[in-house]
Each structure stands twice: as C-alpha cells, then as structure tokens.
Amino acid sequence: MTPRSLDFAGESLLRELAPQVLGAVVRRFGDFSAAEDAVQEAMLAAAVQWPDEGMPDNPRGWLIQVAARRMTDHVRSEVARRRREALVIMQEPADQQVLPAPDSQAVMEQDDTLILLFMCCHNALTRPSAIALTLRAVGGLTTVEIANAFLVPEATMAQRISRAKQRIKSSGIPFSMPSESERTERLGSVLHVLYLIFNEGYTSSIGPRLHRSDLSNEAIRLTRAVRNLLPDDGEVAGLLALMLLTDARRPARTGPDGELIPLSAQDRALWDRDAISEGIALITDTLSRGSIGAYQLQAAIAAVHDEAERAEDTDWPQILALYGLLKRMSDNPMVTLNHAIAAAMVHGAPTGLRLLEALDADERLAGHHRLHAVRAHLFEMAGDRDAAIAHFRAAAERTTSIPERDYLATQAARLSAGAVSGSGTDAD
C-alpha cells in the first residue's frame, strides 16, 4: 500500500495551525526549543496519519495533544537523565505531569503568531538563522523543505535551526510580547526577515534557477498573517503590497530557458492582474493614511511600474520623485543607484551617470556588479558603446547569479556585434 499524502487544503490548514499549536505548547511547558521540536513531530505525524485515518474533529487540539505527549516524554527523560546524574530535582509534582485538556477556550482566542515572529526574527540571531527558524516555527515547513529551498543538505539546515534555538535560549529572549517602546524596532526585524525570505524566493541568488516560487509564496502568506494581526500598521501593509506588486511580474521575468528578461522587455500580458489590483488597492489605501515608510514607498514605485501598459508609458517623473523621498529616508546605496536610473530616464543618461559617481566612494557598492550593470545601461543610452560593453563584461564577471551572468554577457555580446571589431575571439 502506498501511503497517501495530505491534500492541499489539509496541508494549508496544518501550516496555518503550526504557530498556534507551538504557542499553546510553549505556554504550557515553557521550553521553546523542545516545544518547537515536539510540534514539528506532531505535524509530521499529522501528515502521515490524517490521510488514512481522516481529519480529526478538532485538528488544533489533536496537534496540541500529540505535541504535549512528546513534551511529557521529553520532560520524563530529562528528569531521568538528571536523576542518573545525581542531580535529583523534581521539577513538577507528578499530578501536574498528567496531560491537560487539549483545548481551553481561553487559549483558543490567543494567536501567538506575532510573539513567535518577534522571537524568531530577533536581532540577536544571524539573518540566515532567523530565516530558517521562522520558516519552521511560524511557517510550519519541515527541515527538509527548508533545506531544499536553500539548496543545502538537511543536516546543515537542522544544525542551523538548532543553533538558532540555542541562541534564543542563551540570549534570554522571552516568549512574550515586546513592550510598546520596543515594538517598532522589533517589528522592523520581523518585516526585514519576511522581506529577505521573499527576495530569496524571487531572485534566488544561488543556483541555476532564477526563482523558487515556494519561498515567495510563503513570505506573502506570513506577511498576510502579520497584516491580519496588525491591520493599522502602514509598513506591514506596504511590505505586503510590495511583495504582491513584485511577485505579479514573476511569470514574465524569465524566458522559456530560464533566461532573465528585464522589466523594460517583459510581456506585460503575462503579469498577474489580480495581484496587481490587490497590491495597488492596498498601497493606495495605506498612503492616504499618512506616516509613510520605506516599504510603502517601494510599493508605490512598484505600483507605478505595474500601472504602465507598455514600458514606454512608465511615469518616470513620479518614480524619480518617489526615489527622492526614499533617498532622504534611508542611507541605502541601492536606493541611490535606482534614483540615478530614474533620473536618467527623466533628464537623460548624463545626469544618471553623474549621480552614479557618488557611489564610487561608497565601499558598500564600489565595484559591485549592480553598479557596473547600471553604468553599462546608461552608457548604452548615451551612445557610448565601448564603455557599455566594458561595464556589461565587468558586471557579468562579478555577479554570482548564473541567469544574471548569462543576461549581462549576452548584452555585451549584442553590443560587440555592432561595434568595430579590432580583435578576434581569444576563447580557445
């Protein structure tokens, strides 16, 4: 008999319940690290048992009960171990080790997703650890799935997650809602981690495939969950809009062989209209409320691109104005880079090239492949083919993305074909 697997609805429900179940188990037992393992085991048990035995009447209670049983086993073996080590400390009276009722109404009302996100995305964790732990503890993905998404061995990913949990323990990060004064900064880390997960899926800077749809979808799903919990936060709405408006272009972003297609050359009929409508409605509503942040501005820029029926219809003056605002808000060289592109589109390539000069002194971007690639485009716009070829080649040599390298090398080759050729190939 081949084991049946969970259908899509069952899978979605399981993933949605994961943080709630984990929250309930942590509340009951206190040990986040062990509770997280127990919930993972309960989820795996559900994935095996539910297809054959049918969905339980109370899936959430079922998961809590299975996880709690694992926790009880864990506590018992811990106690036994300590006894062996002659450190006999009975943690709890025996009657409190009896399994509690699976679900009380009070706990049902509580959604711990946000608290878990604050924990998993804490600044004390490295970003790769925070990403991995968030995907497992809040996203309900298995270690294997996360390892596959990042193209690393399962053992490596398991270790990364386990170290993240140790870090939480040693840093004393509590399982509780941060104080009002800490909230803004901590929410910033959460949104940053979600943004990184999205980008990892969307641009996939490693490996031959350009995008791994699962991570982008997962980031959107988690950001939606945060938005449901914090509906009045402008930056949460801005980030969700930014993801939707960017992700909408995914079907047009690559050609049949996986080759990269730049925004200006994409077949806009392939864009996801529903995602664009949702993103535009969201960002329009958010911007009308005041208190504008960086994610909202980036979403607004994405919306201007998505609203243009053809590349040449793009409202570049508006994009330039938005990048001007963004530049004042953040000291990010990528913003300066994009601002220069918009300036070139409005005032001509020489203006853009002049703005780029400021970045040569910026250690974060000097010699970066993106700086070369943008220069190459602007030199081509300005009609300086030799400079464009040199910068396309320099960019191709520096990028670590294979689709991007192929794209940049192809651009250099396209321009060379028209250039006065003084030398043959020296590839042999």
């Binding site: 062989d257 080649r393 192929d406 192809t410």
Partner: protein, 131 residues
C-alpha cells in the same frame, strides 16, 4: 559510484574568454549546458553541480600564525581555471568519461567544440556493508 567532473576553462587574456564571443555563440553554449544538466537530472545521474563565479575574485587562503587567514591572489598568469563541476552517480567509470566527453565538447566560437579538459575523479564512499 560517484564521480566528480571538474571543468577547466581557458582563461583567455585575464578575463573570461567567453565574454568576447558573439551573442549567438554564447546563447548556443548556454543552451548546451542547460540541456546537458537536464539530461543528467532526467537520467537520475546528477547528484550536484555548480558553476563558479569568475576567477577575477579568486583567492588562495592559508592559515598564518594564530590560524588567522592569509589570502593570496589574484592570479592573472593562470592559463586555466575551474569554471564549474558536476558530481554524478553512475554505473561505471566509462559512463562518467562519456559524460565528461560530452561536456568537453560544449560549443565555442562558431559552434566548434571547445574540447575543454575535464578532470574526472572518483568520490570516496562509505565502507562496504559487512556480510
């Protein structure tokens, strides 16, 4: 049995030779490599494979006093460099050589085969099961 196939590409005049190819030749080369990878994957023979970033940034690192890294590079005089590798799981060394020969013949300028040297090395394995 597993083999590592290491593709050594010519370095040209210090940057990538491939950068000077025509657009058509470049696209044919990219297509060839993608097809090869797809075939190996489809045959269940591909274990891993990566393309490496350009050699311009390559460094050789040794431990110095206190174990601190001492980096050496760049190497403009090197004639060849490791451009990428595959690890394949195949039935025989002959099959590994066959795959290596195909990769070696990847098209270059004018569609002519490059005949790149591909170093083939067997990957060490776990001890045999005791009877």
């Amino acid at each position: 049995m597993k083999f590592m196939l290491m593709m050594n590409a010519p370095r040209g005049t210090g940057d990538w030779g491939v950068m000077k190819w025509s657009e058509e030749d470049l696209k044919a080369h990219i297509r060839f490599m993608k097809t090869l990878n797809k075939e190996l994957e489809g045959a269940g023979e591909l274990v891993a494979g990566e393309g490496l970033a350009a050699p311009a940034q390559a460094r050789v690192v040794r431990a110095g006093k206190n174990g601190a890294p001492i980096t050496d590079g760049i190497f403009p005089e090197a004639k060849e460099f490791l451009a990428g590798y595959w690890i394949v799981d195949v039935d025989s060394p002959e099959r590994a050589y066959e795959i290596a020969a195909r990769a070696s013949a990847a098209p270059g300028p004018g569609g002519a085969p490059l005949n790149m040297p591909i170093e083939v090395r067997e990957v060490m394995s776990a001890p045999p099961v005791e009877a």
